[in-house]
Symmetry: C2
């Protein structure tokens, strides 16, 4: 049996009782390491907070493990209970669908334990989830690679009055260009896109495309560490948010569409100088 278990967004306490029960039934526990694990108490010396809670050791599954060693992981799941722990919800990201498909093709039972993901937790800012259009991803620009496919999608959402969730790039355990050239595996340090970088890139693309999909005056909501005790949520124009330091990752950004009165009322709490942003804990447990 392969269990794919969502850990939620904040820390070790965000696992569900169902998820914890399943973990305890497993002989081997992998935890995915392609997204941020910072808030889950994972330090250099290992996965102490989670391991203490589960009462057993964890194996960090980086991209390499999952993509290259999936067969070995799945072989284990044929003879015993294996858990694969995922930050957020198992299907909030694309990465896990492929693992499930491979498991099922091998006839391995797969059980899923859901949890909160960024895709639904952004609802906390008051913008209604059914008023969002297509989600976009903002990748890190490089000297030579500055893709702007998100521009058209944002433009379309805004023309329809819909909000746009922008997922910001995460680069964890990326082979360095130098190491690829030399045939040796060396990794870049992890990089997480900040709200500031995302807005800079968005405005740069607007400067190039010049179709007024949005501007520096466009209302947005910036989220840092959503679901954690020290989450930071601020509503303001792109220009305003550019001046802020949102601190540690993960960050994401919502570009606000046409709002209803109850959405406006909630956003007020998150505006600069508003009630929400003055509080240290910013309305989250």
């Amino acid at each position: 049996m392969l269990y794919i278990i969502g850990l939620g967004l904040g820390d070790q306490r965000d696992i569900t009782l169902r998820g914890l029960e399943a973990v305890k039934e497993c002989e081997k526990i992998y935890i995915e390491a392609y997204t941020s694990l910072l808030s889950f108490g994972l330090s250099a010396d290992g996965l102490s907070t989670l391991e203490k809670l589960y009462g057993k050791p964890l194996t960090l599954a980086d991209r390499e493990t999952v993509e290259e060693k999936a067969d070995a992981v799945l072989a284990e799941a044929q003879g015993s209970n294996v858990a694969f722990l995922v930050v957020g919800d198992p299907f909030g990201a694309t990465t896990h669908t492929d693992l499930v498909v491979r498991a099922r093709k091998l006839g391995i039972d797969v059980k899923v334990v859901h949890n909160a993901s960024v895709m639904n937790a952004v609802g906390v800012c008051g913008l209604q989830l059914y008023r969002y259009g297509e989600t976009v991803s903002i990748p890190f620009f490089t000297e030579t690679w500055r893709p702007d496919s998100f521009y058209e999608k944002i433009q379309r959402n805004r023309a329809l009055g819909l909000h746009t969730l922008c997922l910001l790039d995460i680069r964890v355990k990326e082979p360095s260009l130098e190491s690829l050239c030399r045939g040796k595996k060396l990794y870049e340090p992890p990089r997480y896109m900040t709200i500031n970088t995302a807005i800079e890139q968005l405005l740069e693309v607007e400067q190039v495309c010049r179709e007024s999909a949005y501007s520096e005056d466009t209302e947005c909501v910036g989220f840092a560490r959503l679901g954690s005790e020290d989450q930071m949520i601020v509503a303001g124009s792109m220009k305003q948010l550019l001046t802020l330091d949102f601190g540690e990752p993960l960050h994401c950004l919502v570009i606000v569409g046409k709002t209803h009165p109850v959405e406006d009322e909630m956003l007020e709490f998150y505006k600069l100088g508003g009630d929400g942003t003055q509080k240290k804990d910013n309305g989250i447990l």
Copy 2:
């Protein structure tokens, strides 16, 4: 302090450890009753499963309590810790934003505990969440009220190749027309729209609008009791799904847009006669 705590989708074991800790700190616990509580072990004799787990009594908060008696609930939260439990995630539905706004205006601290909602858990079928367009709601048609605003939205999503999540109507504790006329409060029995009714209404609207937004051959995924142990997920054309009995509520429906290969591979498991639909537990814990 007002805690708004998501219970997740399945049963009492879907609360998070963080949520359970918060419940235990509260003197008064309300549980919302406008969506389905069937799977949470709530029978006529009270909220036994949850009350046993929490070690304290619950108060059922129907629409009336929240809309008419919110002031009383909030007054309690000014002097003590009050929990408001919500099926799914607190902000998966619109209902709770208003409560939060009112609380904050009164200066009451609000803390949110996130959980899975239908909006992200539909990811289990393999269709990627970032490939969804605007979510639509399908309301129960009556003799005289047959709104079709969802049609245009579905058409737009499909033109862009995006999937569409259809949330199906729930009518809990609706005053009966007769009782409204007589000035007495009598309620209709609860009604939950089935996938079959949703598809019938969708096809009826297509017959009226005739713009080929979709047809009886359009690929869909039907979900019943998503996140529960006896969930049922089947992929097939509207025509095929119309022949099935999905059983107890809640149901929801996804109209499939343009798919990527990995999405197709996952959908295969849920097709009629496929691997997923043959299994009793259908891939969920």
